[in-house]
Symmetry: C2
Subunit: 436 residues, 2 copies
């Protein structure tokens, strides 16, 4: 599935693979061996095998045929996966809305637009303490209660199976819940009910999505020459060692417009770490940049070709369209005759290849993941492949790819500024520094 465009900038691919074989095999074996230890947060490997959880989700969806609007209250990993897959393959008729910020105006617009009788609210927070999500939950819960006698039927909670505020509230109030496996972190949760519940309402082929993810698992277990995530991780690793601190993720598809946002979180939050597992300060992390082809050929490619050679560009392209559209001939526009009779997919395909080649000519390293077509199976494969690539990179860099210690201080400052009890000292300190 890799194009031939790897190996620019003097990387001899077969010998690089040989030279790193031991490192990659050790990483692969370590990940597979550790996967049943909940403290390692590798639960996402086995989630696509969990058909019972999928069956529960599908039963719930069938029992809620009255839903016309599904509002997901979640932020980061609780929203990005379903948003990406829903935009790519959603077929309706249920509309998905993601409340993933606390700016008041869009929330007010949404509340005024929705009919509570036909709305289901799915609040998603593993800890149950995410400030943004919980603020939205407080408002949407009240809105349902004020408008509906049976408001509890319009609420479904996705959270830790045992711990946290949302779990205890759901138990006290008798609300329907789905569990996030304790060993699955937010950015690795798209194939568990965090993603699948809303995607079931969007009409996604979830069996296909999970089958694709299982296929990626197979490849991640395979010997090195067939182990695609080990290979793409190695490419990413080698170019980061060559000083390229930027990784562009560029699918050639408008339907995949939110996939880079999901990838950005997966990559940046997993790999941007101050300390390695040995406790040394290392400050790892390449910065993922979002791009969409062909659109960004008219926005970012100028920089990618002529700017500093500080990037590795990962394109994603499909070999076949789901459906195609012919470009008609028009009298008076003969200057465009090279388009006449061709199809939109042919043009998209030519642009993707032309851009990869033009970047290579400028010695800007790039490689392309080519997928047969854009459907649930191949998208499920791609998501799980990228999770594996991230896990491999974490091993190569000897860091914990599954925590996010760097967001804690911001949360503490927020608590202080919001006047949360116990944070008075910090609030004083911030005030003294002119923040408030």
């Amino acid at each position: 599935m890799l194009s031939e465009r790897i190996g620019v900038e003097g990387i001899d691919w077969p010998s690089a693979l040989t030279a790193h074989a031991h490192l990659l095999q050790t990483a692969r074996d370590a990940l597979w061996q550790r996967k049943s230890d909940p403290a390692e947060y590798l639960g996402w490997i086995d989630v696509p095998e969990d058909t019972e959880s999928l069956r529960q989700v599908l039963r719930y969806r069938e029992a809620h045929a009255w839903v016309e609007d599904l509002v997901v209250l979640g932020i980061g990993g609780s929203a990005l996966g379903a948003q990406a897959v829903g935009a790519a393959l959603g077929r309706g008729p249920v509309r998905l809305h993601f409340v993933d910020n606390v700016e008041p105006e869009p929330i007010l617009v949404l509340l005024r637009t929705l009919d509570p009788r036909k709305t289901l609210v799915n609040v998603i927070s593993k800890s149950g303490s995410t400030a943004e999500t919980m603020a939205a939950f407080l408002v949407f819960r009240q809105w349902l209660e004020q408008n509906l006698a049976d408001w509890k039927k319009h609420l479904v909670i996705t959270t830790d199976p045992a711990r946290g505020i949302l779990r205890s509230y759901a138990q006290a109030e008798g609300l329907t819940t789905f569990a996030i496996p304790p060993s699955v972190g937010g950015r690795f949760s798209v194939t568990c009910p965090v993603g699948t519940l809303s995607l079931a309402f969007a009409g996604i082929d979830l069996e296909g999505l999970l089958a694709g993810a299982r296929k990626a698992n197979e490849q991640a277990k395979a010997a090195l020459e067939h182990n695609l995530p080990a290979q793409t991780a190695l490419i990413q690793h080698l170019f980061s060692q060559k000083g390229k601190n930027i990784v562009v993720f560029m699918p050639y598809s408008t339907r995949l417009r939110y996939l880079p946002d999901w990838f950005v979180q997966l990559h940046d939050e997993s790999l941007g770490k101050m300390h390695n597992r040995a406790g040394q300060e290392v400050r790892t992390g390449t910065t993922a940049v979002r791009a969409i082809g062909t659109t960004d050929q008219h926005a970012q490619v100028q920089l990618f070709r002529e700017g500093p050679r500080d990037k590795l560009i990962n394109m994603v392209r499909f070999l076949n369209p789901s459906e195609d559209l012919k470009i008609p001939a028009v009298r008076g526009l003969e200057a465009l005759d090279y388009l006449f009779g061709k199809s939109f997919f042919q043009l998209l395909d030519a642009e993707a290849k032309a851009t990869a080649h033009a970047l290579a000519k400028a010695q800007q390293p790039n490689y392309t993941l080519t997928l047969d077509k854009l459907d649930a199976y191949h998208l499920g494969w791609l998501l799980q492949h990228l999770m594996w690539q991230t896990a491999f990179l974490g091993e190569l860099w000897n860091i914990n790819a599954f925590d996010q210690p760097g967001v804690e201080l911001g949360k503490e400052y927020t608590y202080a500024l919001m006047g949360r009890k116990g944070w008075e000292a910090l609030a004083q300190e911030l005030k003294a520094e002119g923040v408030g």
Copy 2:
């Protein structure tokens, strides 16, 4: 309008400004002096003063009260500005659709959804030769013609006033047109009819937008201590000199979700250049990264805080909401009592300040543009301010910020792969290299 958070990492702001005063004043004077030379592409400075062009746009909009869907066919600078402003402030009832890619499936979905009788198609290409836009034009023109006797009334063309395929076709067919001033490049065109025509249909206060842009012009003319774009350009310049090759643009607003995409094109395409004006190979350009607060606190801030110190972060924050929403208290959720009775805007504001402060603590340089509120005036100011900042950076780096030579080779390869006449030799060459 700048927060105090500049000056981390040992930059002493007042003395830096003094040290660069001569350079900045020279840049400012050069830009203002060159602005009436069409070859300099500085027409965007005067566009906000052009009230006659705005009046034409508004008259056209009034005469087309029947429009329910407006389809914009355009890519890059022909789409990103209107998309950003429309998403931020659009009030309907006309729905805007942007066809800015050639993936067939979303275009087919759109064609099946639209009612041609209530649809207006605005094709935008300055040259009239953009492959993606013209392919879409050929299809939408045919769709209108096949469905409507008066199809020409449903088509409006925005292009060069004299040159190009679209201009000659419009003349031959008697189609309505709006002109893109020859001295205005795509990524600087949001305040001319490229942006204003669709924004008029979206109900945007265009007088306010242009008034804000004129305010930014005033500041760009002012002495250094009041010249905000000269100052922000200097910050960007100083940190790029310190090796920070990434510039994060992070508004705290979901309504501004497309503004970073507009900024990415403006910044990357203008400043990513292989050669300077003296013809030397320089490979300039920092890479702009899109982020939205608070959303990306749960996606990218882990990397921004703990990862390599290779970034400058530019946040944008509003001092006042247009409308606010209170967070209610709920029995059984007392663990969240720090949110009870507070407002969403208070939370958004606290998160923005907390993040700026947490980044500064980690010695990750950041500064905040603070705007009174999100309305047409302040958004017009922000757009024009960022255009000025870009122009100043072009001067500081002695590059042409207004061309894009790096996208030509990709276009040539596309022509060859699409079989355009005259490109046979290149097609053979690509085939020999395994591309096809």
